[in-house]
C-alpha cells in the first residue's frame, strides 16, 4: 500500500471510536428511539427505562434521558419530563434544543429543568489581540441559578482570580490578562476555570486558552496630512499694463528732466542719447506687458505650507514618541484552544 493509503487507514482507525461514541450503539435504546419515532410512548418509556439500567456511554445515557424527557412531555407528564431533562443538563450542560424541531411543551420543560440545576454553560472566550495593559479579553458564560461564581485562570504555577461575583444568567467579563504586578501574563497555555456554587451544589467548567506574545506595530511617519495638500508658494499675477506704463514714466522723466535741467546758454538740448536708451526701455516695457508675468511669492500659501510642515513635524514627533513607547510594549494574542470534555457536577 502506498503511504497515502496508510494515512487514510490510520485516520479512519483513530476517528472510528470518536464516531461510535457519538452514535447510539445500545440496542435497547435504539428500540426506545424507534418506539418514540412511531409515537408509541409507552413502549418508548419501557425501553428507555430499561436502557438506563444497562451499561451506556455518556452520550447514550444523555440521549436516553432526553428521550424520556420528550416522551413524558408528549404524555403531558411535565414534572417527570423536567426531571429527565435535568439529568440531560447535568450530563451535557451545553445541550441546546432546536426550537424549530422541538415541541413547545418539551422546550418549556427543558427551560424549567435548566433553572433547577446549577450549571455554567456557554463559556465563550473570544480571540483577541491587544497591547498589554491597554485592552482586555472578553469572557462570557451563563449561570442557570443564582450562585457565587469565581472565575480563575490557571496555567503552570499561575493561578489568578479573574472575578468573583454572585450572578444569574449571562455574565460578561473583561479580563486584562495581567499579573497582580501589572505585567502581561507570560506566553503559554492556560485554562479559564469558572466555578459556581450555591449551598451544597457546585459546578465547574473550563476553557483552555493560549496566550502568545508579539511585537506591537509601530506607526509610520507622516509625509502629509490627510485632506491637506501643500499649496504653490508662488502665483502668477494677471497681465498688467504696469510695465509699459512705468517704462514710459521712467523714460519720460529722464527726457523731461534732461530738457528741464539743460542750460539755456547752450542752445537746444540733445535728446538723441536719452531717446535711444528710452526707446529700449519702452520696448522692454511693452514686451513685459505682453509677456506672462513672473511668479510672485504667495505669502498666504507660504504661511499655510509652513503651518502644515510644522503640524506634520509635530505629529511625527508624537509618532516617534509613540513608537518608542510601543517598542517597549508587548502585543498579547489570546485565543481559545480546543476544549476538552465538558465540566460536570462535583
Amino acid at each position: 500500500m502506498r503511504a497515502s493509503t496508510w494515512t487514510i487507514v490510520t485516520v479512519a482507525m483513530l476517528i472510528a471510536p470518536l464516531v461510535s461514541a457519538q452514535t447510539i450503539q445500545n440496542p435497547t435504546l435504539r428500540r426506545a428511539q424507534h418506539a418514540f419515532d412511531n409515537l408509541d410512548y409507552r413502549q418508548a418509556l419501557t425501553e428507555g427505562r430499561a436502557a438506563l439500567r444497562e451499561r451506556l456511554t455518556g452520550y447514550e445515557r444523555a440521549r436516553a434521558y432526553e428521550l424520556l424527557g420528550f416522551t413524558y412531555s408528549g404524555m403531558d407528564s411535565i414534572l417527570r419530563s423536567v426531571d429527565a431533562f435535568k439529568q440531560v443538563v447535568l450530563l451535557e450542560p451545553e445541550r441546546q434544543l432546536d426550537p424549530n424541531r422541538t415541541s413547545p411543551k418539551a422546550l418549556s420543560a427543558f427551560q424549567v429543568a435548566l433553572t433547577q440545576v446549577l450549571v455554567v454553560r456557554q463559556l465563550v472566550i473570544d480571540s483577541v489581540t491587544f497591547i498589554g495593559g491597554q485592552g482586555a479579553v472578553p469572557l462570557r458564560y451563563t449561570v442557570t441559578q443564582p450562585a457565587r461564581v469565581v472565575t480563575r485562570v490557571i496555567g503552570g504555577a499561575t493561578s489568578l482570580r479573574i472575578d468573583s461575583t454572585v450572578a444569574n444568567g449571562q455574565v460578561n467579563l473583561r479580563w486584562q490578562a495581567r499579573t497582580p504586578g501589572g505585567d502581561p501574563l507570560p506566553a503559554g497555555n492556560y485554562t479559564i476555570v469558572v466555578d459556581a456554587s450555591v449551598g451544597q451544589n457546585s459546578f465547574s467548567t473550563s476553557q483552555p486558552i493560549r496566550i502568545a506574545h508579539g511585537t506591537v506595530d509601530t506607526v509610520a511617519h507622516l509625509t502629509s496630512l490627510p485632506g491637506y495638500t501643500y499649496l504653490p508658494e508662488t502665483e502668477v499675477p494677471p497681465k498688467s499694463w504696469k510695465p509699459m506704463g512705468l517704462a514710459l514714466v521712467y523714460t519720460g522723466a529722464a527726457l523731461a528732466g534732461t530738457s528741464a535741467l539743460s542750460s539755456g546758454d547752450l542752445g537746444k538740448v540733445s535728446l538723441r542719447e536719452g531717446a535711444v536708451i528710452g526707446t529700449g526701455v519702452v520696448v522692454a516695457g511693452f514686451v513685459m506687458m505682453l509677456k506672462k508675468p513672473a511668479p510672485q511669492p504667495a505669502r498666504g500659501n507660504i504661511l499655510y505650507n509652513q503651518l502644515l510642515r510644522e503640524q506634520i513635524a509635530r505629529r511625527n514627533t508624537e509618532i516617534a514618541q509613540e513608537n518608542t513607547r510601543r517598542r517597549q510594549q508587548v502585543a498579547l494574542t489570546v485565543a481559545p484552544a480546543v476544549r476538552p470534555t465538558a465540566g460536570g457536577v462535583r
Binding site: 521712467y250 528732466g257 535741467l261 542750460s263 542719447e273 529700449g280
Partner: protein, 222 residues
C-alpha cells in the same frame, strides 16, 4: 598726461575693488561687460558743440543692501558745427555705490572724473556724486532704473566754480537678462549739467558744461 594716468589708476582700482571679493561673496551678484558709447558735449555756448562715440566698460555688483557700478568710458568728440575746430578725447571714470533704503529707492554716493585730451580743448572735470536711484523690475530679468543727484565739489582743469545746486546729473538705465541670467543686455543714459562760472578778474562769467552720453552693451553675470 599724468592726469590721464591718474584717471586710469582710479578706474583700475574701482574695477579691482568691485571684482576682488567675488570668490568669497557668494551671495553677491556681479556682472561686467563692454559697451559702445555715443555722446553729445557742449561747453560755454552753443558754438562749442561736439558729438562722438567710443567704448566703455561697466562692472556692477550687489551684496546684501549694497550695490555698486563702475563705468569706464572713452569717447572721441568731434566738433558739430559752431566754432570748434579740433577733436578731443574724453576719458571718464564713474563710480557709484548705493545703499538700499526702502521700496524701490536707494541712496547713491560716488564720484566722476573726466579727463580730456588735448588737455585744454575741453574741461577736465572731477566731482562727487550724491543722489538717489529708483529701481523697478519690469518683468522677469528686466530692470529699469532712474537716478539723479548733485555733482558736489566740482573741480575743473580750467578753473571756475559751481554753485551747490548748479551741478546736476540724471540717468536712465536698463538691464535685460538673457541666457538664464548669465548674459545681460545693458543700456544706460547719463546727463550732466555743470553751471560753471569763471572769473578772470572782469567779473563772473558763465561757462556751463553739458554732456549727454548713451551706452549700450553686453555683460557677463556671475
Amino acid at each position: 598726461m599724468s592726469r590721464r594716468f591718474g584717471g586710469l589708476a582710479v578706474s583700475a582700482l574701482g574695477v579691482l575693488l568691485t571684482a576682488q571679493p567675488l570668490n568669497r561673496l557668494t551671495a553677491q551678484h556681479f556682472s561686467i561687460g563692454p559697451q559702445i558709447a555715443f555722446g553729445d558735449y557742449k561747453e560755454v555756448s552753443a558754438d562749442l558743440h561736439y558729438r562722438g562715440g567710443g567704448i566703455a566698460a561697466k562692472a556692477s555688483m550687489s551684496w546684501k543692501r549694497f550695490s555698486a557700478d563702475v563705468v569706464l568710458s572713452k569717447l572721441n568728440y568731434t566738433p558739430e558745427g559752431g566754432t570748434a575746430t579740433a577733436d578731443f578725447e574724453a576719458s571718464e571714470v564713474d563710480v557709484r555705490v548705493r545703499y538700499y533704503i526702502a521700496g524701490p529707492v536707494s541712496g547713491e554716493l560716488g564720484f566722476i572724473n573726466r579727463n580730456t585730451d588735448p588737455e585744454f580743448e575741453a574741461q577736465s572735470v572731477g566731482a562727487a556724486v550724491i543722489g538717489a536711484r529708483i529701481n523697478y523690475l519690469l518683468g522677469p530679468g528686466v530692470r529699469v532704473a532712474l537716478n539723479g543727484g548733485l555733482l558736489a565739489g566740482s573741480k575743473f582743469s580750467g578753473g571756475g566754480s559751481v554753485s551747490p545746486l548748479g551741478a546736476i546729473q540724471l540717468g536712465l538705465g536698463l538691464t535685460v537678462d538673457a541666457l538664464r541670467g548669465r548674459l545681460q543686455v545693458t543700456g544706460d543714459y547719463g546727463f550732466q549739467r555743470l553751471s560753471r562760472e569763471t572769473d578772470d578778474g572782469s567779473g563772473p562769467a558763465s561757462a556751463p558744461i553739458q554732456q549727454s552720453v548713451g551706452r549700450m552693451g553686453l555683460a557677463i553675470a556671475f
